[in-house]
Amino acid sequence: MSQIEQLERRLERERRARKAAEAIAEEKTREIYETNVRLQQLNNQLEELVRQRTTELAAARDEAIRASQAKSDFLASMSHELRTPLNAIIGYSEILLEEAEDLVRPELRPDLEKIRGAGKHLLGLINDILDVSKIEAGKMDLFLENFDVAALLSDVSATVQPLIAKNSNVFEVHCDPDLGTAHSDQTKVRQILLNLLSNAAKFTKQGRIKLTARRPVRGDGGYLEFTVSDTGIGMTPTQVTGLFEAFSQADATITRNYGGTGLGLAITRHFCRMLGGDVTVTSEYGKGSTFTITIPGAFPKAAMEPHPSPPEECIAGTVLLLEDEYATRNALGQALTQEGYRIVAATSADDSLRLAREEKPDAIILDVINPELDGWTILRLLKTDLDVWDIPVILITALGDRDMGFALGAAEHLTKPINPKELLRLLARVKSAEAAPDVLIVDDDQATRDVLRRTLVKENWTVREAASGTEALQQLARATPAVMLLDLMMPGMDGFEVLRAVRQDATWRDIPVVIVTSKDLTTDELEWLRGHAMDVLQKGAYRRTELVAAVRAMVEAARSTSSRPVPT
């Protein structure tokens, strides 16, 4: 066997091996190519599938949005449908309460109070549920405005006072003197505080409930810090967990013993967070709870400068203001200055008499609640001084002291929180008696019209009614009322259209319009209404006295713009 033959065989084997390898490589290449083609097809199919699914998802999303819109519309209309009859129940019960008193049938009072209480309670629950629905739907809007924090707190305190007193609790309010102005949603801050305070009142008996407000300087603009603490039943750490979740109370026993929807704290926390803050709680079982709210103040406190006096020629009158509480003095001063009154303020008994003699004001506003001022003595002195005895005095009193005030010669009285419009009305009244104005009530709901009419007639106003927007315009064409009370949700021409028509007509343009509605207003609607109407009252959310005061103020305001008397 020669070496050459061996090498030839080897070469031949190598060649065949190479060809086999090449064939395998070619086959593998083809396989890879075919696999790639299949992958490409698969990819195309997948892309097509993704496109289909995306279309389906978009359709499903659109459907969900439509369904959600339908749900929101339903809720909005339900809120209207539920609040309207409830408003009638509450309104009629209030009328009956007054009539029971007039007829000397005191035995009816407890039952009527129960009807009114139950109606208000139900309204509260409905409002809570609607609030939660709106929060969950992301439809809760903020309405930001500047407001005086101290005034808000005194308003809140006055509102919860009876509730706190019910369980024989002592109520303490500690506010920093320089809380100033906040730029936030006033209604929500009020609701937050009312929620926490009424909770404290509910879970505390013969104890102490404390509201404090501070403005610790933090960052630019600063923060407002409110605490609501009580010496009530308190909570265990387990009960505190999940306290702020919707539909949860400390435990089921609480629901049985104390009632409620368990939505209040959830709403409170949502509101706090919407406003850029938060709420926290510390609690000890059997000892009490403390809730702390922090919200951005957004605006630095208002300058404490004296109220600028209006130009001499448009002074509506001079008012001597005897009020030593800064916040109230500030709020009243602002409201009166805006209306053209010149304010003279006094903080001591000596000052009061001297200023009354020197300034000869058109009216004196005197706070007799505050013991430091000794308002009763001042009133007695004013009424026995030959120089000033005839100047009308409007008293700021606690409710029970009303009769004593009148006995001592006061012309009118007010209770805190003071509604500036009410004050203006009283001022106008003590200055000169006016003829009874006409009020036009526009509402499609007969019960609502009835309650409003009876309320207003009681105040000696003449009232006309319109059951629709069209009817309202007909009534307007017949005679121009001093004030129009206008519902928004009406079949056919709604309240918005009526208001638009009124504002476009030269003869009707200046009619003051008060919106009385149970519609859930959006921020845009509210904004528009505030620009076109004098006041917006939510059915069931206002007190009858407020409505009366608002109407009266409108009438007075309308008259004073047409023929404002200049003091001689």
Partner: protein
């Protein structure tokens, strides 16, 4: 059987013996493939048995001994050809444990048709590995060679007890490997 086993075997014969002897055993074996192997091809395993048998005849060394030696040789070749499979492995036991779960899994990705033997591992006793080889082919001695090559690669020392599980057919065997440096 994958072509790489054949090409590596013939290369070993060329290196350890001679190109002439390689040619001789190929000629004597009368192989269907004619001995023209490529690493990427697949061939009947009987051809390897014939080649070993012819080499045994030419050298007087037993077929089993030749197969074992080829196993030791091939393990080191694997390390040269496929270093990626050795990454992160620092002992023979660890490598042997991973044959079934890692290396064979990777081989199947490239050659889905490959018929691979099974290697069951039992490591319940520290310092000992019980490895059971089962195959459709009689290559227990090749497995033994690979195991020895593995231990040598990691510069370890171990005793291997072999239990034949196939009555001399060579298709199944149990290797009880005891590391010397780990036993007290």
């Amino acid at each position: 059987m994958k072509g790489i086993v054949f090409t590596e075997f013939l290369e070993m014969v060329e290196n350890k013996f001679s190109p002439e002897l390689t040619d001789t055993i190929i000629e004597n074996a009368k192989l269907p493939s004619g001995g023209a192997y490529t690493a990427v091809g697949t061939y009947d395993h009987h051809e390897l048995i014939k080649l070993v048998s012819c080499l045994s005849q030419e050298t007087g060394i037993s077929a089993a001994e030749l197969t074992r030696s080829f196993g030791v040789y091939m393990f080191e070749r694997f390390y040269v050809l496929f270093p990626k499979y050795f990454e992160g492995i620092n002992s023979s036991f660890r490598f042997l444990e991973l044959i079934h779960d890692y290396i064979h899994v990777e081989v199947r990705k490239l050659y889905p048709e490959a018929e691979l033997p099974s290697f069951e591992c039992d490591t319940s006793q520290p310092g000992r590995l019980r490895l059971t080889y089962r195959s459709t082919r009689p290559f227990a001695p090749l497995a033994e060679g690979l195991i020895r090559g593995c231990i040598t690669h990691y510069k370890e020392a171990a005793d291997i007890e072999i239990e034949d599980l196939s009555n001399g057919a060579g298709t199944a065997a149990r290797f009880l490997i005891t590391r010397r440096d780990r036993v007290p």
